[in-house]
């Protein structure tokens, strides 16, 4: 084989490899798209029976079809809460599929950030009461206005605060601090809960990640919350970071630009 033939052979192999690579990339993209479409359709279909369960249990719990004794009330309440968790899981799956299909819609407007935090805390009141948690919210002297998608940021705060609450022990303390630095709002959420093992922290924002120490005592949760949260914050032009020490607690910090349209 002469030099020219070797070059041609190498060129042929190289072209074949490029062809294979492009085919696989295309196949992978198609597969990803099909998976996302499947999740999107499946979740919509799941929502109808979940709604039926939610509506019917709520009517029974409210005594619309007769009085319940305490045991029945307690059992049905637990059933209702379980159904709510499935609805949350379906919503998370739908959000993830929308993120991956690049169809996660945003509607930015100017808001008072303090009010959004108050609303997020309000939505988690049941959990705060149930676990006897203390929320310390240090409000800034100057309350800046920011451009955000309110519902999405509410979802971010609910995810982060619910994590802090769920992974805190009874009577735990959750601190929320807001600081302003270089045209950015920095939001700190700190708990004194179970923390995340150091060797697992690099996986925190991956889909379906759940820390091993958490799995030992709390099996609920989709592991999708932080993936969605990070995506929303970055879409707003911000960043998120997490510092955690197992057994001592976790501090989440995220930034959002002040008064600039993303």
């Amino acid at each position: 084989m002469n030099f020219y033939e070797i070059i041609m052979l190498l060129f042929g192999i190289f072209s074949a490899l490029i062809g294979c690579f492009l085919y696989l990339k295309n196949y992978k993209n198609k597969l990803k798209q099909q998976t996302s479409e499947f999740i999107s359709i499946a979740t919509h279909q799941l929502r109808t029976p979940l709604t039926a369960i939610k509506w019917s249990i709520k009517m029974i719990l409210d005594g619309d079809v007769g009085k319940l004794n305490q045991e029945q009330q307690e059992l049905l309440s637990k059933g209702y809460q379980s159904n709510e968790r499935v609805i949350k899981l379906v919503n998370d799956l739908l959000d993830v599929s929308r993120i991956e299909e690049k169809k996660f819609d945003y509607q930015f407007d100017k808001y008072d950030f303090e009010n959004i935090i108050d609303a997020a805390i309000e939505r988690l009141q049941n959990l705060i009461i149930k676990k006897h948690l203390k929320i310390k919210f240090n409000k800034p002297i100057k309350n800046p206005k920011i451009y955000v998608d309110k519902e999405k940021i509410l979802l971010v705060l609910q995810n982060l605060l619910a994590n802090a609450m769920n992974y805190s022990t009874e009577n735990g303390i959750i601190k929320i601090d807001i600081k302003i630095k270089n045209k950015f709002l920095l939001i700190y959420i700190k708990d004194n809960g179970v923390g995340i093992p150091k060797n697992e922290q690099f996986k925190l924002f991956s889909k379906f990640f759940r820390a091993s120490n958490i799995m030992k005592f709390k099996t609920q949760g989709s592991g999708l919350g932080l993936f969605i949260t990070k995506n929303i914050i970055e879409k707003h032009g911000g960043r998120i970071s997490i510092k955690s020490q197992e057994g001592k607690g976790t501090e989440v910090c995220f930034s959002l630009p002040i008064l600039s349209s993303p």
Binding site: R47, L50, A52, M59, K103
Partner: protein, 129 residues
């Protein structure tokens, strides 16, 4: 102010069980509920019943909720045209919600996020009860 016992609601929902639960809740509260299981039936019953308010699903057989909404808002009868419409759907993407409001919906509820109590509150609010 309208009296609850005289208020006619047209409920357009294709899922049998959801329709049954919703009707049960509203009837117990004293409303008169008329049911439609698809868009075509909804448009027929609309003229016959002349409801005070419509609860409308979007994904429906034959004619979908968006088309029903469009036809109501361009109806020749002014009273029917102005009937308050609350969308009850499990579609919750921004473009679906925006489309419904652009077509003239008065409110939009994602079914899995609300209970029949919430629906009741929205009806009362819409009709100033």
């Amino acid at each position: 102010m309208l009296n609850k016992q005289e208020i006619k609601i047209l409920l357009v929902e294709d899922d049998n069980f959801l329709r049954e639960i919703c009707t049960k809740k509203l009837t117990k509260q004293g409303f008169i509920v008329y049911e439609a299981i698809d868009g075509e039936q909804a448009l027929k019953k609309l003229e016959k019943v002349r409801p005070d308010i419509i609860l409308l699903d979007i994904i429906l057989p034959i004619i979908d909720g968006f088309e029903v909404l469009k036809q109501i808002r361009s109806h020749k009868d002014k009273k029917i045209q102005k009937t308050p419409i609350i969308i009850l759907s499990n579609l919750g993407q921004k473009n679906d919600v925006d489309k419904a409001f652009t077509l003239g919906a008065n409110n939009y509820l994602i079914k899995a996020h609300f209970t029949t109590d919430d629906i009741l509150d929205k009806i009362k609010k819409e009709l100033s009860l």
